[in-house]
Symmetry: C2
Subunit: 446 residues, 2 copies
Amino acid sequence: MTDCQGDGAGCPMDLYEKLNAQGDKVRALKAAKAEKADIDVAVQLLLKLKVDYKQMTGQDYKAGCPPSENSVPPDNGPAVDGADDEDTVDPWNVSTTSAKGVDYDKLIVRFGSSKIDKELVDRIEKVSGQKPHRFLRRGIFFSHSLIYNSISSYCSRWLQDVFDIPLVIQMTDDEKYLWKDLTLEECHRFAVENAKDIIACGFDINKTFIFSDLDYMGASPEFYRNVVKIQKHVTFNQVKGIFGFTDSDCIGKISFPAIQAAPSFSNSFPQIFGGRKDTQCLIPCAIDQDPYFRMTRDVAPRIGYPKPALLHSTFFPALQGAQTKMSASDANSSIFLTDTPKQIKNKINKHAFSGGKDTVEEHRKYGGNPDVDVSFMYLTFFLEDDEQLEKIRQDYTSGALLTGELKKILIETLQPMIAQHQERRKQVTDEIVKQFMTPRPLNFNI
Amino acid sequence: MTDCQGDGAGCPMDLYEKLNAQGDKVRALKAAKAEKADIDVAVQLLLKLKVDYKQMTGQDYKAGCPPSENSVPPDNGPAVDGADDEDTVDPWNVSTTSAKGVDYDKLIVRFGSSKIDKELVDRIEKVSGQKPHRFLRRGIFFSHSLIYNSISSYCSRWLQDVFDIPLVIQMTDDEKYLWKDLTLEECHRFAVENAKDIIACGFDINKTFIFSDLDYMGASPEFYRNVVKIQKHVTFNQVKGIFGFTDSDCIGKISFPAIQAAPSFSNSFPQIFGGRKDTQCLIPCAIDQDPYFRMTRDVAPRIGYPKPALLHSTFFPALQGAQTKMSASDANSSIFLTDTPKQIKNKINKHAFSGGKDTVEEHRKYGGNPDVDVSFMYLTFFLEDDEQLEKIRQDYTSGALLTGELKKILIETLQPMIAQHQERRKQVTDEIVKQFMTPRPLNFNI
């Protein structure tokens, strides 16, 4: 990508001309009655370019209207929420009007990523020699950008175990301070508490570095150097377009995306990568975090670093249904890692939105709808056995399985998992957290 | 100052009401034919409030027109450059149309500071038991905010020597990187080279800490914590108003003022002040740096810190005259610390703007004008003896002293000073720089 004006992301005029050319191509294909698949590919690229254009300029692309110089997006309008009737997905808002939840196929087009299809899952199995994680098999991590190149990169625990790679986990306590009405000390304490839950998931201490921004920024000149590099190459117009910031936002929020971006570059961690800047990074993240990493991927080549690869995960739905929001302040909106077996049972029985019919008779006759049933959605996250899950789906759809029975399966799946987690978390001492959070070399083979 | 909307600096409506009240007061004083001095004081406060209002809202205050909600200053308009015919003074631009240079009395009103008058200089002499530095005696440091409270604070070398206080010197190499087309490594190297010149001025190594932002940010979690605190309490609207940033500026520039502000707070240096956050800071700076510290003084009470005090210095004029700019890239625009005795002589003889007459005869008859004569201005900076300086002023004004003779005095004053500086600089080894730049305790009594 060329940089015409030194203000990042190529220049609007380049993109405008690309859009003109792509529009011509689509019209030519249609006029020539080309194959539907070919037209679809051209249209998808056109849509992607339009999203990029809107993000860069704040304007909708219109043929014949070149970008104006001072174009900015309207205040308060998150740019990724481009069209009516679309889901809203940005780092601070996720909303949808559909009970099935967010339409991820649309998001894939909007965010310009690619779906993790059967072929790719098979390929991961072949390379790793292990059965891919159920999150990959079931499309919970549903899209990717560059997983092909990312085997030698950071990754989540499963990828870590299978591929023997180092994992770096950023706790953005500075972000929490900037967005919430909390003190720095509170935000830092929450970060350490969260680290305990992460450690309880079983990460390998020899391959995992967990850090708080508030600590690590002041412990690594290399990290700050990368932050400043990124901050020099991103304008307010760009973060306004990407994140919907306004002039009333504090300068901390405005510059924060650079801090979220810096760990994507391996020389931010000289103690791990020995100053190498060419080690590529894979970021498994929920798709609402995508704007940060779109920005990062845009900046990377301009500061001489490889682009990070992304694995996008779906959202974990609230108990009340996929179109409502989970909230840490509403105990009934989700199952918490601190819940007792009784709380788990009560919450699921009382609050988990059901795709079943109103009466047993109707349910037996017409069957339930697993696509909107939150208990079933949770099972796709937590039940390991693919065949058992498929049987549940079929039985629930046919009406053979009642809502109460489905809920019981979920309760009995979750209760031991969470109890085990709590048991492991108890064993995570402050000393262990300190070890995970100490900058140090890690053991891996890349 | 109350904070009505959580977006800093009190709220525009509060300030608007203060302005209404102050306008009423001025009118009442005039109607009552009060003492001129009383009216002047009331008018000065009114002017100051108007400047604050413009900075906060981007609008000129008008009685009867309350501030609108989304008011912002026009892009590209540095807010301190409020009226026509006024000097432009902000951290990146200093310009004036007067050969005498910037009108500092006007700046004092505009910036809301106070002049260092005879009374204050006498008071410094009494408290310190030493003759005040010529920069104070001659108004080179010409205004102050809170010097009364600042004896137990950081200070420049003279203040350090006289008052036995620690001095912290910030090298903003990150700022240079953000504003200039240079690499991080180049900016850092320049900072170290500049540190050598500073050290050569004779600062006490036991009382002086010099730091590069690029190094110290990554070496002090306390420093970054203060940066984030400041960044949370300053909005883009505010920095837009104060510094004239636009939407096309990179997010690094936009958030940089917080990094310039953080060293004003003593707990940014726990190795020196042991975590105390109540040690007040005195900042001797050229008045073009004032916007940073106006912002800092505004933020300080809202994050629980004392406001830093300021000592404003005049600008050192360019050889070609006070209305032109010194430039590091124009060797003839100033005397450099690296100049040879011959270069000093040639530059002053060829380029120093003269306040003398065209011929010796005219000069003898009408006399010269020391107020616009750059050689005389330089002597006010460099000649220690007040009586000798006054005699030169009188002789030049009367015509007894010719321009060539005045220039000769300056040349003979500067040549040994600069030679001595060069000699001292040679003795500043990399090891000494390293010591000055190492975070460590300092020796002082406050």
